[in-house]
Symmetry: C2
């Protein structure tokens, strides 16, 4: 069950991870979980994530679909100096604006690398869509950018994180989403019916049931989420009582 | 750069991860990387991945969009016994067929739990779309299913992996995608131009450039991928020579 937008008017977001390396299984994505966690802290609801390859038409289509649908879109990857870095150009096309040489971005690259080492490849990183504003990169100078509701960031986790922390104060957040997690070693199917009854009594709280299987044994984590602390506490208590009634040992984790 | 389908007629796949817990940042996804790696080994090209919440309309839309576009779709999550497990019902709606009580699936659950413990919640896991075929679950009995080109699997990694290994022999693979990775401590922007020239000479090989930043130092991994081992070896050698020419020390990793 998920809270409807009518009940929860908080801003929404999509995360768009651009890069063949994730889809080839070569690299484990490290950006989605971190970004989702930070957005949740800011009261922004992450509604969707996509991983797509470095193909221009795919990037254009995804940026257009997601930016039309959600309050914010955060992209990672494809803004470096090499031939496979095509995100800036694709995002410009998604917004139907030209890609321009940005004077401020070129200045930052000049100060970082030195004018004599500012190769054409490096200057490529100063090309941003017309009308975009820069996102600071305190790690390696080459900036990200924002155009409309789309924030274009690097794929290297250390740089992406620095960029996000820089831009975060500009985001409008909603009510902070709170959560309580109660785990037990009971099988999920034992809990299904009473849990559904608790969910039915508390439509303002979203209850998720996440089974796990470790060392040959099943258990389940029950996660209650919502913006009302008192309602959340009531649900957490009902869940704990339900687990005890079924002979389990509720652990808040 | 990505190989076009004209050059590479291998089957394609999308991965659809269903579950609020990934989007809330609470759980780090462990299925995408594993599945992508296994599909690549089978000669199947993973073209897209999506993470969506447990919302029926979202699941229907994603299943329809992805199954129309790719050879295979693999979903994880949402097939358990609790109120938030709505994947089977949503997939049935995506294919416009009824959700039925499957006799074989119910039999497996009866043998696993015992007839006296087969609660309505557990029997929920025997409901599959009409016309679907079962995917074995050697871990916890409740099966996944295949309908059309869509494979519906559990979200618990140990169960998902067992389900995938069971169904993998039924997949048609293409030419195995091979890769060679050469890393060096040079900055990506130094390599951009000569690397682009190598890519231009070898359109049959896809070359990706993945910078990393560790302990205050930049480096880059250059990944060449393709199905022709000899062409791949030639590209790997050209990349190593390029790195040496620029004063770097190529390491195959």
């Amino acid at each position: 069950m998920t809270l409807t937008e009518e009940r929860d008017p908080a801003p929404t977001a999509a995360i768009l991870i651009i890069g063949n390396e994730i889809l080839s299984g070569r690299t484990q994505d490290a950006n989605l979980g971190w970004l989702a966690g930070r957005l949740v802290e800011l009261g922004i609801r992450v509604k969707e994530a996509r991983v797509i390859p470095d193909i221009e038409a795919e990037i254009i289509a995804a940026v257009q679909a997601l930016s039309a649908r959600y309050s914010y879109v955060f992209t990672t990857g494809g803004i470096g100096p090499t031939h496979d870095d095509i995100t800036a150009e694709a995002v410009a096309k998604a917004f139907a604006v030209p890609l321009i040489d940005d004077v401020e971005a070129a200045g930052r690259l000049t100060r970082h690398y030195g004018a004599d080492k500012l190769t054409p490849a490096r200057l490529r990183m100063a090309r941003i869509p017309e009308g975009a504003t820069l996102i600071d990169n305190i790690v390696s100078a080459a900036p990200g950018f924002r155009i409309g509701n789309v924030f274009v960031m690097a794929g290297v986790p250390a740089i992406m994180r620095a960029m996000f922390d820089w831009l975060a104060p500009s985001l409008a957040g909603g009510a902070r989403m709170l959560d309580r997690t109660i785990s037990c070693a009971l099988g999920e199917s034992m809990l299904a019916e009473p849990l559904s009854a608790i969910q039915g009594r508390h439509p303002e709280i979203e209850i998720g049931s996440y089974p796990y299987f470790q060392a040959g044994r099943f258990g389940v984590s029950l996660v209650a989420r919502g913006t009302d602390e008192a309602a959340l506490a009531a649900v957490a208590e009902e869940i704990a009582q339900m687990i005890r009634r079924l002979g389990g040992d509720p652990m808040e984790t």
